[in-house]
Symmetry: C2
Subunit: 228 residues, 2 copies
DNA sequence: GTCTATAAGGCGATAGAC
DNA sequence: GTCTATCGCCTTATAGAC
């Protein structure tokens, strides 16, 4: 997985050993995701996380100086992996925006640990002192601004009805996605989160676009883009 | 503090001390709500809850035989207080249904501890072993069936468009309410949860009812019904 | 880089005094 | 009904050996 196929120079060797450290780091982070999903932050234990990563608690604290450091490292990596580069490509239409979000939902449905972790942490993080509070405040701001910008562009293109409040609608979309995720987490095998979200987007498109057309029958954009 | 100022008959004395016990019980439950809100279940501590209730940990465990017993007692009482009798009165229209739900959102916004507790617990409870897992599974079933029934009635009355899937729409409504609640919890003083929900219901009514009319300007049903 | 050992304290639950 | 005391276990973080 970490093929640093080097040549000769020292630097490369150093890079090599660094890459090994990164691999251990990654194992710890993977284990931490599962534990934060199951226990939340406060009730997770470094020793149990370390054990799942094949290391001792003391060894873990060589890579992360504290439990809180581990948490923010997990959150940062998770954001880099997943849908934050969601807004990298400019969408050509609001339909494309929604298809990208459907793809994100499918991506989340395939990663129960990661997704349940967000459910558990965002609930805990409501309290102001929580170590992830600021992270989630910033995250919602970013997500809502991102979706809001695309909606505003769609209004300006004349695609979406002029009266629409882009930011309010973006917050609503984020709420639907989060809320469906909570329901899905209670029965991940039987709950069709993506289907539910598609139904929502379909009706939303009919009521909010100028031409009043819903989502295309079963277009692309929902496959896992498998970024990691 | 324990003024069982009894007369002679046993029964009355027993009832009297029982009422006092209930008052203490209530204090413990109130404290527990705040702690579960801030820490979730696993990371909350009986000793700290007891301290806030003006009692010791040992004393607390006289009223609740275990931490898990305390949790389910909290959840049960909270459900009895809040919007479970939501469906007591038959609504005359889907507008009325939505106004009742707006009232519930306003009720929740006035009780940050209780509401944040639900955010924290429903996130944790995604995992199957969690002591509140079954509670939340049952709760969503009940809520979605309740809202779904009212929507189905509205379809049968010819108020809502025939093609509508009542249960799917009910799940969507629950998702929006939960998702908005997560965002609200991050900034309860500045986030207009009820306004956001009203905007959602308004657009939903326009797209899903036969006559396509939105929500009335600012009708009743949103005041706190102050049931406790 | 990983280990063991340990410090210093919190946890839930039980037992028994009053 | 509430207290104190206690059991056995778990917690994060640090120190130092290898």
């Amino acid at each position: 997985m970490d093929r640093t196929q080097d040549g000769k120079p020292r630097r490369t060797a150093a890079r090599g050993s660094y890459a090994v450290g990164d691999e251990r780091r990654a194992r710890i982070l993977d284990a931490a995701v599962e534990h934060f999903a199951q226990w939340g932050f406060h009730a997770s234990s470094l020793a149990r996380i370390a054990k799942d990563a094949g290391i001792t608690q003391g060894g873990l604290l060589h890579h992360f100086r504290s439990k809180e450091d581990l948490l923010i490292s997990v959150l940062r990596r998770t954001d880099e992996q997943g849908g934050v580069r969601l807004f990298a490509r400019e969408p050509q239409s609001v339909v494309e925006t929604f298809q990208t979000l459907l793809g994100l939902a499918a991506y989340n449905a395939e990663r129960p640990g990661r997704t349940k972790m967000f459910n558990a942490l965002v609930g805990e993080a409501g309290e102001r002192g929580h170590p992830a509070h600021d992270f989630f405040v910033g995250r919602y701001r970013m997500v809502i601004e991102g979706i809001g910008r695309e909606l505003r562009d769609a209004v300006e293109r004349g695609e979406v009805k002029p009266g629409t409040d882009p930011e309010a609608l973006a917050a609503e979309i984020a709420a639907v996605m989060d809320g469906l995720q909570l329901q899905w987490a209670l029965a991940p095998e039987t709950y069709d989160m993506v289907g539910r979200l598609r139904a929502y987007f379909d009706r939303l498109l009919r009521s909010v676009t100028v031409d009043g057309v819903g989502l295309p029958e079963r277009s692309g954009g929902e496959e896992d883009r498998s970024e990691n």
